[in-house]
């Protein structure tokens, strides 16, 4: 029978480090995935996943056991990602500033159109690329809203922004995504017809 998160957390707090290993094994993919969606870079995502689990380990005593461990990990991950992006922006050259504020050009398979890539079955690659093309401030809210499933209020609280600003960012992000994904949306509409 699978051990519950609460049980493993308690075992870890009692000094059993291996119990924490089970939690890491269980959630490393989810944490890495969220970091990758926000940062768009495998190496950064792996480093950030490690940092997330380390930070969670150090703060395990403050974890409320009635809450979801994964949700708690997601919160740590997204906060670390936000700080990482802020730090990257502060160190960035002009070109990267542009990327952070204005988004960047698509990188996924520049040799072919989104339709061609989608036809080859790589729809998720096109969507991921479209998400990564968003300016960082829009990408963060999209990931938090649609991949983490947080509410507008929760995002606003976590980002220290007014809910209205979060809604505006989300609205603009969706519009930008819609424009980028239009070729695929068109294909899907045609396919349904």
């Amino acid at each position: 029978m699978e051990q519950t998160d609460a049980f493993l957390v308690q075992r870890t707090l009692d000094g059993d480090v291996e119990a924490y290993g089970v939690l890491v094994q269980r959630y490393e993919r989810q944490v890495y995935s969220l970091a990758y969606r926000m940062l768009g870079n495998g190496d950064d995502a792996a480093d950030l996943a490690q940092d997330t689990f380390l930070r969670a380990y150090g703060a395990l005593a403050s974890f409320r056991q009635d809450a979801s461990f994964l949700t708690w990990l997601y919160k740590i991950t997204s906060n670390l990602c936000i700080d990482f992006m802020r730090a990257r922006k502060s160190r960035a050259a002009v070109s990267l500033d542009f990327e952070v504020e204005e988004g960047r050009e698509p990188i996924a398979d520049r040799s072919s159109s989104p339709e061609d890539t989608a036809l080859r079955g790589a729809v998720s690659e096109v969507v991921q690329d479209a998400v990564m093309c968003l300016p960082a401030k829009y990408r963060v809210v999209v990931v938090m809203r649609h991949l983490q499933g947080l509410t507008i209020e929760e995002i606003a609280d976590q980002l220290h922004l007014p809910p209205g600003t979060v809604k505006t960012h989300l609205f603009r992000a969706r519009q930008m995504l819609k424009e980028r994904l239009k070729p695929i949306l068109g294909m899907e509409t045609d396919g349904r017809a």
Binding site: A61, A87, R174, L177, L181, L185
Partner: protein
């Protein structure tokens, strides 16, 4: 009978399609009141273009939400657990402290998964730089909240005692007057230009205020001066101690 009206109805001469499209994101999120939502639903049923716009928004969100997990391509657990074991000697933090804001020590992070150890590029370092804003706050964040309160009170009392003693006030006043004389001497040097001279005057006035304050303290009975200075400094210190340790909270 109560009359039901749309609280946010379209104005006359204002395109209904524009009105609907402005509200599609809120409609999508379910944030609209029942009547407005019903009006939009009715419009979408008869307007091809708005319905098309809404369908595209829905499809976009669906595509993003169905993105699969990204596989790291390797098992991250061994590297993570090696770092955790290195840290496992550290005691777990008290739940009342915003522990997540404290930086992870280098000894507990011998190397990142990707093997990078360059300072300032790792998330943990960026975290501490971004959230704490400097070594002073990093140091303060290593303390628990009760410790910070205690430190604030002790520092305030010590400063108040020093200032209120005749020695402290005399020393402060003497230092202020000495600096003022030094600035006077500087202003007599012809090489000091007009702008520099202006800056010196401003500085002189500031110093004169400090020296005057010190002189004032000397004239006030010691116990009153200690009380007043102590209260002011204590309030400032407690305000600083109450500030959140960082932007990151686990709960």
């Amino acid at each position: 009978m109560e009359e039901h009206r749309l609280t946010d109805a379209p104005q006359e001469g204002y395109s209904l399609c524009v009105w609907v499209r402005e509200r599609l994101p809120d409609y999508q999120e379910g944030y609209l009141d029942a009547l407005t939502a019903e009006a939009i639903r009715a419009h979408l049923a008869v307007c091809y273009f708005c319905a098309q716009e809404y369908r595209e928004l829905e499809d976009t969100v669906r595509l993003v939400e169905t993105l699969p997990f990204v596989d790291p391509g390797r098992d991250l657990t061994p590297a993570i657990m090696a770092a955790v074991r290195a840290q496992s000697g550290h005691p777990f933090q008290s739940p009342v402290v915003e522990v997540e804001a404290s930086p992870v020590m280098d000894t507990s992070l011998p190397r990142t998964i990707t093997g990078r150890i360059e300072r300032g590029t790792r998330p943990s370092e960026q975290w501490s730089v971004a959230s704490s804003g400097g070594s002073l706050r990093e140091g303060a964040e290593c303390l628990t909240r009760p410790e910070r309160y205690t430190l604030a009170v002790v520092l305030s009392a010590a400063t108040a005692a020093l200032l209120s003693s005749s020695f402290g006030a005399q020393a402060l006043a003497a230092a202020g007057h000495t600096l003022l004389r030094a600035l006077d001497a500087l202003r007599d040097i012809p090489a000091v230009g007009w702008m520099s001279g202006y800056c010196l005057i401003v500085l002189q006035h500031s110093l004169a205020s400090v020296a005057g304050f010190a002189d004032l303290i000397r004239t006030v009975p010691t116990s009153w001066a200690a009380l007043e200075v102590g209260v002011v400094l204590g309030m400032v210190a407690l305000w600083a101690a109450k500030r959140p340790a960082g932007v990151f909270h686990a709960h």
